[in-house]
């Protein structure tokens, strides 16, 4: 079993900066007003670095990446 990353977003903390999607457009999704829609998304294989980068860009620290066994999510 290989390991995959899952996006966890604390939506009570997200305030719509949209920096995640600015910095990692292939990983993150936001709604019309810039609030994250990515909670629970599986990070596409090969884009792990981009995902980490986008998560770090969040000024609120609202994004965490969780490692899961692939298939379990």
């Amino acid at each position: 079993m290989s390991e995959r990353l899952v996006v966890r977003v604390d939506r009570t903390i997200c305030t719509g900066h949209s920096l995640c999607v600015m910095r990692a457009p292939h990983v993150f999704r936001v709604d019309d007003e810039g609030f994250s829609l990515s909670d629970g998304d599986l990070v596409p294989t090969g884009l792990e670095e981009e995902a980490r980068f986008g998560a770090r860009a969040c000024p609120e620290g609202a994004i965490h990446l969780e490692t899961v066994e692939s298939g379990s999510e």
Binding site: S18, D32, E33, G34, F53, P59, E60
Partner: protein, 404 residues
């Protein structure tokens, strides 16, 4: 300068003399210089007797935490004896849950996608302004570009005549340049009066402008009342003008002084979006305020109801927790982290527009001015102002612009 006594609950060890309005005066790069000075001399959270007496927070981590606790660190005027403006500026002078409702009204308009639709129009405005000065061989950036550009965009957003520009700029200056609460209150009232006249027109003939949106929108199922409309409209004006002008002026002054950095943008304009974030990082202008809503302790410090706290967002960009080598300016920096747009529920609603404005200005600037510099003998003086800005930035370029 109003010097006040220190309240009894403030320990002497936490008192540090800091005047945020005058701190930039005499600095070349106040954000960086003042951050370094406070790191060396001041506690992480301290009390200054200046400007009516208030606390100062200079670390990013504290700002993020406190902004997230509006029930303790409130934006509402009822706890702040220095912000009794009429109308109250919305949504900045409100707390959740009402704040979220006001914010929806603004958020829909200033949504990233909606702002991107304005790009062509914004570029046209920028091009027009720069075309008009290109052949002059130089300009005073603050008044000729920095001020004109955002107010032209504002007047388009509210669909108001361009000739109102002068009157409005004067009121905006009174608000940002005066730390005196009464002077500021008067400016707010003057702006509200102007905005009121626009609302009266929109009620009769609604359009697609942002004020018509306010007229049409609702607050918890009822229409906004007049005070609320005017509070939203006035804030829109105050928030979008001086801040953008100041940041742009600081950025252009920085690039004029650092031709090797500017050359990177000229050689590779694709670098501009990334560079904008790094340039914004070092050019913060605004210091938001909160008031303590009840007696409480934070990190062992005793706060009393009504204590005012200023957050030095422009200095937080130099917090090593946010950026390694924070004092180095690197236009290719992988991630330029900063809080100049704040954080938490009150995060600047105009941040998406502001980023577009600055990016387009630079994209159009590099097309016309492959080289420019400060006018020989001129000095960029920082203003005494609640929004940190250069007084004037005198520039020169080879006359004939790109053609020469």
């Amino acid at each position: 300068m109003q010097q006040q006594s220190i309240p009894d609950h403030v320990p002497t060890g936490l008192v540090y003399d800091f005047d945020y309005v005058n701190a930039p005066v005499g600095c070349v790069h106040p954000q960086y210089e003042q951050s370094r000075k406070l790191k060396q001399e001041a506690p992480e959270i301290f009390f200054t007797p200046r400007n009516g007496g208030h606390w100062v927070v200079r670390r990013a981590a504290d700002a993020v935490e406190m902004f997230r606790r509006p029930e303790d660190f409130s934006s509402a005027p009822e706890y702040n004896n220095q912000r009794q403006w009429k109308p109250a500026l919305l949504p900045v002078q409100s707390d959740p849950p009402a704040h979220a409702e006001y914010r929806k009204v603004l958020g829909a308009f200033f949504a990233p996608g909606n702002m991107r639709k304005l790009e062509d129009e914004i570029r046209e405005i920028a091009s027009g302004i720069l075309d008009s000065i290109e052949q002059n061989g130089g300009c005073e950036f603050v008044t000729e570009v920095g001020e004109v550009f955002p107010i032209t965009i504002f007047l388009r957003l509210v669909d108001a005549p361009l000739e109102d520009r002068k009157k409005l700029l004067k009121l905006a200056h009174t608000f940002t340049r005066s730390p005196d609460p009464q002077g500021r209150a008067k400016a707010v009232a003057g702006l509200a009066e102007y905005i009121r006249s626009l609302f009266d027109i929109r009620r009769e003939n609604p359009g697609s402008d942002v004020l018509s949106q306010f007229v049409k929108s609702n607050f918890n199922g009822r229409p906004l009342n007049r005070d609320e409309e005017e509070g939203l409209g006035t804030l829109l004006f105050l928030a979008g003008l001086d801040t953008v002008r100041s940041a742009m002026s600081s950025i252009v002054a920085y690039l004029a002084r650092n031709p090797e950095k500017y050359a990177q943008l000229v050689e590779d304009p694709d670098l501009i979006p990334n560079a904008v974030e790094e340039l914004l990082r070092i050019s913060g202008t605004s210091m938001p305020e909160r008031a303590v809503s009840h007696d409480l302790e934070y990190k062992g410090i005793e706060f009393r109801r009504g204590d005012r706290i200023y957050f030095m967002l422009p200095l937080m960009s130099f917090d090593e927790e946010l950026n390694e080598d924070s004092e180095e300016v690197n236009l290719r920096r992988e991630l330029s982290r900063h809080l100049i747009f704040g954080s938490g529920p009150h995060r600047c609603a105009g941040s998406h527009l502001a980023r577009i404005e600055v990016r387009i200005l630079l994209e159009e600037w590099v097309k016309r001015f492959p080289k420019f510099s400060l006018k020989p003998g001129s000095v960029v003086r920082m203003a005494s102002s609640t929004v940190w800005t250069p007084e004037a930035v005198e520039l020169v370029w080879p006359s004939g612009g790109a053609q020469s």
